[in-house]
């Protein structure tokens, strides 16, 4: 072996004079890299407690613990992280639908106790709470699917020529893809007035078991096909995926599942205790709440009769919703299911006060869900002129198949779903339509989709327009006079109110003024001794937690009772009454 190999290793001594690369210990440990995955931080204000972080954690290091009272859209839970399990993979951060969870770039924690290594980020104070650096959610890298499967719709130009359904519906493949976007957080269940088992049926659709999906849906909704088409979707507004992306198309998925089967009675074989054998229940009003009561009581053995003033049950879903949103065939399918469950219908029959008294005596229970039938008046000068019509009347006439004449130019006053329906119907009847609304588009109570659809169909929306008066013109038309409004923010957090700007008048010459500013209850037919007990000052009915009014055996629900006035709340009211009646019956058995 040559001398070189003996000498060469000593060149290492050269390092003795080179710059040392020892990391100094003064000033604490080296900070982690800007996107270091250190201890968790959580913006608890942004966090909605959906638990998706907990679901994706393969180490079960994340528990959702209650820190606050649940509200709609926030479960009140927050992630608690166990660093005896965590592996700092940051999948929880990348999946976080609200984008609240993050990681700081701090990494030092030593303790003698094995049980201290857990805390609720953002709630339990930690030195790294305000850490600027660390691993964060990044736009463009999502572990959940933010993009909704687009729903096929008729072309806007085509729509105004036809009464056919605008929404085409998902194909099987589309539904499976859309269903697979669900992260099973369950916020929607809490938000849904009827607390439908949404993640469960979406899971069934994803797994290709549509029959099971329908069975789950019918657990607490007897009119799901209607909901699948026109529901106000409070579930979707809280969907955790919707915080950063498009919420799941829960409504369209329900629609898909229910449309799969023509004969629902075959699919649904409800296994429930028939507690109501030999008992009779009368339902006044064949709307969503009434039909819900009818179905769930009928499958439990009750003998149910539904009394309806119109020639067709369905209530507001029959006379109030245009056919291009909710076709007659869908409604008939629902009614067929009720008939097969044994529900009897008395149509074209308006119940009066005496009959109600008689019903209460003859039946084990009476359910009243007669809805809000009295349109709010415009109360502007000229409202009595012919040609100023309430939107509800117009919708009813249209849905009953009567001829409706709206002329060539129409102004619709209001911004709710009724206003949109009236204007879209008027478009289909060939009129030029303007919506005059007192507030801004964002304040409109109507569905955003509905507003968009209406605009696509050529409806013009004039906002911050306060109707001042209606005058008849010489050539038999109407002059709709309105003044502009400014929005006044009176209280923080509440919706701003419109205030008329004095002195400006705008004119709009039209053939019809359709008034859709709201509707109220019409309970004049009630016997005074009953209405005295059950009505509140606004004319609505008050019920207890079992759905029963102050009159024994008289239950109520629907728009008359709740303050949200949508179909799903009516269904929820119906379910509440069903539970009340069933519980009471069961108690009587014992």
């Amino acid at each position: 072996m040559s001398l070189k190999y003996t000498i060469a290793p000593f060149s290492a001594w050269l390092q003795a004079v080179s710059k040392p690369f020892t990391v100094p210990v003064t000033g604490g440990p080296r900070p982690g890299a800007p996107r270091y995955r250190g201890w968790h931080i959580n913006d608890v204000e942004k966090c909605i407690g959906c638990g998706t972080c907990s679901a994706i954690c393969q180490n079960e290091a994340i528990d959702m613990v209650p820190v606050d009272d649940p509200v709609v859209g926030d479960s009140g839970l927050r992630p608690k992280i166990d660093y005896g399990r965590c592996c700092w993979c940051a999948l929880c951060v990348d999946v976080c639908p609200s984008g609240s969870l993050g990681m700081s770039n701090e990494y030092v924690w030593a303790d003698t106790d094995a049980d201290v290594f857990r805390y609720i980020p953002g709630v339990d104070e930690k030195p790294w709470d305000d850490s600027e650096l660390g691993w964060r959610r990044e736009e463009g890298f999502e572990l959940v699917d933010h993009d909704r499967v687009p729903m096929g719709m008729l072309d806007p130009d085509e729509r105004t020529q036809t009464w056919a359904e605008v929404v085409i519906g998902y194909t099987e493949e589309q539904a499976r893809v859309e269903a697979s976007r669900c992260v099973d957080c369950g916020l929607c269940v809490a938000a849904c007035p009827a607390h439908m088992h949404i993640p469960d049926y979406i899971g069934a659709i994803r797994d290709g078991d549509d029959a099971r999906a329908v069975q789950i849906i019918y657990d607490n909704n007897a009119m799901p096909e209607m909901c699948g088409k026109v529901c106000t979707r409070r579930c979707e507004s809280v969907c955790s995926i919707g915080v950063q992306g498009d919420p799941l198309a829960i409504r369209w998925l329900k629609r898909y599942a229910t449309e799969r089967f023509d004969n629902l009675a075959e699919v649904l074989q409800p296994q429930v205790e028939r507690v109501g054998e030999g008992r009779t229940v009368a339902v006044i009003g064949g709307g969503p709440s009434g039909l819900t009561v009818a179905y769930y009581l009928a499958i439990r053995g009750f003998e149910v009769t539904v009394h309806e003033a119109l020639p067709q049950v369905g209530g507001a879903t029959f006379f109030g919703i245009p056919r291009y949103r909710f076709p007659m065939s869908s409604l008939e399918k629902q009614v067929d299911l009720l008939k097969s469950a044994g529900v009897k219908f008395v149509l074209n029959h308006r119940v009066d006060g005496d009959e109600l008294t008689r019903m209460l005596a003859e039946n084990d229970a009476v359910f009243m869900g007669v809805g809000l039938m009295k349109p709010m008046a415009l109360r502007a000068p000229g409202e009595d002129l012919p040609g100023v019509i309430p939107a509800l009347d117009m919708l009813r006439e249209q849905n009953l198949g009567h001829e409706v004449d709206v002329g060539e130019k129409v102004v619709v006053v209001g911004g709710g779903n009724v206003a949109i329906d009236a204007s879209r119907i008027s478009r289909r009847l060939g009129a030029e339509v303007t919506i005059a609304y007192r507030r801004r588009v964002v304040d409109m109570p109507a569905d955003d989709e509905e507003i968009e659809d209406a605009e696509a169909e050529g409806v013009e929306i004039v906002t911050q327009a306060i109707p001042l008066r209606v005058e008849a013109t010489e050539d038999g038309k109407l002059d709709f006079v309105w003044g502009p409004a400014e929005m006044v923010q009176e209280e923080e957090g509440k919706r701003p109110r419109p205030k008329l700007i004095e002195g400006v008048e705008n004119h709009l010459v039209v053939d019809r003024v359709i008034v859709a500013i709201g509707q109220g209850p019409d309970l004049d037919w009630l016997p005074t001794e009953i209405s005295e007990k059950i009505c509140n000052k606004w004319g609505y009915i008050e019920v207890d937690e079992t759905g029963m009014t102050a009159v024994e055996g008289l239950y109520a629900g629907g728009d008359l009772v709740n303050d949200t006035a949508d179909a799903i709340s009516a269904i929820a009211d119906g379910l509440r009454a069903v539970n009340g009646i069933v519980d009471k019956t069961r108690a009587q058995h014992v």
Binding site: M1, K4, Y5, T6, A8, P9, S11, A12, L14, Q15, F21, G32, A33, P34, R35, Y36, R37, T52, A55, I56, Q58, N59, C87, W88, C89, A90, L91, D94, V95, M103, W135, E138, G140, F141, E142, L143, V144, D145, D147, V177, S180, R181, C182, V183, D184, R206
Partner: protein, 375 residues
């Protein structure tokens, strides 16, 4: 004194699991005559965690944090293999963006480099020489710094995912990496002095632990062990994956097939890796997405199928055989790591006749990684 039989003269010696000369938590049960092994048996199982079983009950995305722990010094090959196999089975591989493929190639090559640096140090460390390992581990630490910056963690990166990578390269990353590469390059001549020009190392490495060429196909040897025999076999060139096909790369070879040759092989590959990283940085597109759009990872199901995906780890060919059954989890996965062949089968064959003092150096030169043997 009566004459002892050969059997009586034999001494049984446990080498490991608690022994500084062993390459990890494993044991060799050796029978010695004098200081020469007559035979030896490897004992593994000290690190068994049942990865393949654990992956069967985790969703696809949840397997990432697991797989990188299969091989501690070089976790990234595992991440890539899992991603590539599932991408192939799901059809997502067509959607991996160009830039993601480049980043992945860079990532894999950085991982090889850091692993090679560590092992080269181990070669002399196993002989009791401390200087070179201390330098090389520090040099490796510079690469870990870049990993930390890129992926958010030093050791377990969990950076590759289905459809791409998790984050884009940070601003100025290439420059800082280049600076580290220059630092490493400037130190390598010194490292050469204390390793390859060291009389101790030469004396103990040349001609020791020779692996015969006929065992290559018989045992399924791969990686630097084979290339140290002069056989140009490298998964990166034989079955190019990601962007290796677009790089100027030739398998490095040397001859001798002994511990020295394998150490030299690693020295060559360090130089090659540095060159490749520079090539990648030069060719990588600066714009473009780094990840495909992913479906909901909590419910993602992929069609039934099976596939074998391989990659060149620093130790040799690493492969995943994955079977899926159409559910949201892997049905069965088999991790084919080079360490099992090298560290169990080959090592047991090489042990008879080896001096007990050389056993540690031999194990390092075979780059035995016990966690990967057991998984």
């Amino acid at each position: 004194m009566t004459e002892q039989t050969a059997l009586e003269r034999r001494v049984q010696l446990w080498f490991g699991p608690q022994h500084p000369g062993i390459t990890g938590n494993m044991a060799v049960q050796a029978w010695l005559e004098g200081d020469t092994l007559t035979s030896g048996v490897t004992h593994v199982g000290y690190l068994h965690r049942g990865f393949e079983k654990l992956m069967e009950r985790r969703k696809f995305i949840q397997s990432f944090p697991i797989v990188c722990r299969i091989c501690v010094p070089e976790p990234d090959t595992n991440e890539w293999l899992l991603a590539a196999s599932i991408e192939e089975l799901s059809g997502l591989d067509k959607e991996v963006p160009e830039k993601a493929r480049w980043i992945r190639t860079l990532f894999l090559e950085m991982s090889r480099l850091s692993s090679m640096l560590m092992v080269l140090g181990g070669h002399v460390g196993a002989m009791g020489l401390g200087t070179a390992p201390n330098w090389l581990i520090t040099l490796r630490d510079y690469i870990l710094d870049r990993f930390e910056e890129l992926t958010g963690a030093r050791v377990y990166h969990m950076y590759v995912t289905y459809g791409g990578v998790r984050r884009d390269l940070p601003e100025g990353f290439a420059e800082r990496l280049e600076a580290n590469l220059q630092e490493i390059e400037s130190k390598l001549p010194l490292v050469d002095n204390v390793i390859f020009d060291s009389a101790v190392f030469r004396k103990r490495a040349i001609g020791v632990g020779v692996v015969p060429e006929e065992w290559v196909d018989e045992l399924g040897l791969t990686g630097p062990i084979v290339r140290a025999m002069g056989i140009a076999r490298d998964t990166r060139t034989d079955y190019p994956y990601e962007k290796y096909g677009e790089l100027d790369i030739e398998p490095m070879t040397t001859t001798g097939s002994d511990i020295f040759a394998r150490a030299w092989m690693r020295r060559l590959e360090i130089a090659q890796s540095i060159d490749l990283i520079r090539q990648i940085l030069a060719k990588m597109p600066t714009e473009g997405p780094y990840s495909a759009k992913l479906p909901n990872m909590l419910t993602w199901t992929i069609p039934a199928g099976e596939t074998y995906v391989r990659a060149e780890a620093s130790r040799g060919e690493m492969g995943y055989y994955v079977v899926t059954d159409g559910s949201d989890k892997i049905r069965r996965v088999h991790v084919r790591g080079p360490s099992y062949v090298h560290g169990v089968t080959l090592l047991e064959r090489l042990m008879p006749g080896t001096n007990i003092a050389d056993l540690s150096a031999l194990m390092v030169s075979l780059q035995v990684c016990p966690p990967e043997i057991e998984r």
